[in-house]
């Protein structure tokens, strides 16, 4: 579904990604893990057209989408939920949601989808006229995920969805991602809470120093002592 071939890229002339390779299948959840500075969030930005790609390829269902702009990626059915707070603070919940479909030529369809998405996230319906800044951190994250679903994406890139959320809300967010996977959406996630994320994922991907170090089924990675070592801040030994 999504394939990265020897991707090199970074910010201006600074190289962060030094050869990222992976293939993730359709309707699966893949968690990207790795130490700080491994390039996890940078990979997402590279895929979504927010970063200079120096070389390599990004393929989506075989189609080359390397260096496509964010608007083009949305057109290809890809949405991105970055880490941190990503709402438009002074706009209402409803208008924040509406922005998720701003690139669509079919605004009637967007309206219908907004109603459907609010059925999935009833809190949003209750607070539709409130300013987004007035929502709690967890509610803002739900709004961001709902907004990302508006155009029926086939791939969601979600970066650190659990940051700032209570354990209950983290479980809710994970349950939402599993539900999306079951509906045929492909999910690529970076998550600080790596063990919990791998436990609900189909595949795992270990990045270190901007390179793919391991890529396997999530349960295999969970059982691998080298990954455990990595979680404690160590490095993966070659071989």
């Amino acid at each position: 579904m999504l394939e990265l071939k020897d991707l090199h890229g970074g910010y201006g002339k600074i190289t962060i990604l030094n050869g990222v390779n992976f293939v993730i299948p359709k309707a699966s959840i893949t968690t990207v893990i790795g130490p700080n500075g491994a390039g996890k969030s940078t990979v997402f930005k590279a895929i979504f057209g927010l970063l200079n790609i120096h070389s390599g390829q990004v393929l989506l269902d075989g189609q080359d989408v390397t260096r496509a702009s964010p608007a083009q990626m949305i057109g290809h059915g890809v949405t991105y939920v970055p880490q941190g707070r990503n709402v438009i603070p002074q706009l209402s919940v409803w208008h924040n949601l509406e922005l998720g479909g701003i690139t669509s030529p079919d605004q009637a369809r967007v309206r219908a989808r907004m109603e459907e998405v609010m059925d999935q996230f009833p809190m949003l319906r209750q607070r539709r006229n409130q300013k987004a800044i007035e929502l709690s951190g967890g509610q803002q994250k739900q709004l961001e995920i709902a907004r990302a679903l508006l155009l029926d994406p086939r791939l969601i890139l979600i970066d650190e969805p659990s940051i700032g959320l209570s354990p209950n809300l983290v479980q809710e967010v994970f349950a939402t991602l599993i539900r999306l996977r079951d509906q045929g959406v492909t999910v690529l996630m970076v998550e600080q809470n790596a063990k919990a994320a791998l436990a609900m994922s189909d595949y795992g991907l270990v990045l270190e120093l901007g390179q793919t170090r391991m890529h396997d089924r999530a349960e295999t990675l969970l059982a691998d002592p080298r990954v455990g070592h990595l979680f404690l801040g160590g490095h993966i030994e070659e071989g």
């Binding site: 964010p70 608007a71 949305i74 990503n86 438009i88 002074q90 706009l91 922005l99 907004r147």
Partner: protein, 292 residues
């Protein structure tokens, strides 16, 4: 009482024009996180574009106004953004602020060289008649200036809040990184902001010039008062800029009439100091966090 009403209306009229210029400060701040210190000259210059239309191109007033508006939008909106803001902004806000100060001098001195240092008569847009209301004599020009300015502010607010383009502009101003991720054409939205700022400055120019006449140095006072109005009202809110403009216009007139004309120019500065000490975010502004 009748005199008070007269002074109040006249103050609201001038204040509403200050508000148009002050909103420009707010818009540019939101779009580029910088202060345009040439804003006063942006209000001074379009009046001269109209005079060029009338005197050099022999246009009737209505056509000269359209000509002035179009030239202002191109020169003070499009070219300002492309030639000054875009090249300077990557170097940070401060170099851009200094560049706008230099632009202010260039526009002022350029106008003086081109059109002379004397104040130029400027045609009135509205009838020079008066109305008698409750014993007060009210200038029709003041009244219509107020109505037109407020209509422009209301139209702008409706555009920003009720249209998708307006909400995309707000999204770009409030969180450009997220707006881009959502597929908003942020560059275009920023351009729209600069074009609207230029149009507002031009409209303020057309309304105030019959009162102040067209003079190369008009921007000094207008720019300063509008800047103070934006800070007093709240630099990051359009309604704040409106409130600040109206407040300064009214207080200025009331002071001149009931206290002293000698120190009227000091009043906005005193108000500025009080507001900065008491409520730094302005009367209707909101505090903004900034990462350093």
């Amino acid at each position: 009482m009748s005199q008070f009403l007269q002074v109040l209306l006249s103050g609201l009229s001038t204040g509403s024009i200050y508000a148009l210029a002050a909103i420009g400060f707010t818009l540019v701040w939101q779009a580029a996180q910088t202060v345009n210190f040439a804003q006063g000259e942006f209000v001074m210059l379009p009046a001269f574009f109209v005079l060029i239309g009338i005197h050099w191109l022999h246009m009737p007033l209505w056509l000269a106004l359209i000509f002035g508006l179009i030239v202002a939008v191109i020169v003070l909106g499009l070219l300002f953004k492309k030639l000054i803001v875009e090249p300077m902004l990557p170097n940070g806000g401060l170099p851009l602020i200094i560049a706008t100060m230099a632009l202010s001098i260039l526009l002022k001195e350029g106008t003086k060289q081109f059109y002379g240092a004397e104040a130029q008569p400027y045609p009135s847009l509205f009838p020079q008649t008066t109305l008698h209301m409750d014993g007060a004599v009210v200038s029709v020009q003041d009244l219509l200036n107020l109505v037109v300015s407020l209509t422009i502010v209301v139209a702008l607010t409706l555009f920003l809040n009720r249209t998708r383009t307006g909400r995309c502009m707000q999204a770009t101003a409030q969180n450009p990184a997220v707006a881009e991720i959502l597929g908003v054409n942020t560059k275009r939205m920023v351009l729209y902001t600069f074009l609207i700022n230029a149009a507002l400055a031009a409209l303020a120019s057309f309304l105030i010039s019959p009162v102040y006449l067209a003079k190369f140095s008009n921007g000094e006072t207008l720019g300063l008062v509008a800047f103070i109005a934006a800070i007093v009202g709240g630099f990051n809110q359009i309604r704040g800029a409106l409130a600040g403009g109206l407040l300064i216009g009214v207080l200025d007139n009331l002071t001149a009439t009931y206290v002293t004309t000698e120190y009227r120019a000091a009043l906005p500065l005193v108000l500025l100091i009080v507001i900065i000490l008491w409520r730094p975010q302005g009367l209707l502004g909101t505090s903004e966090g900034r990462k350093v």
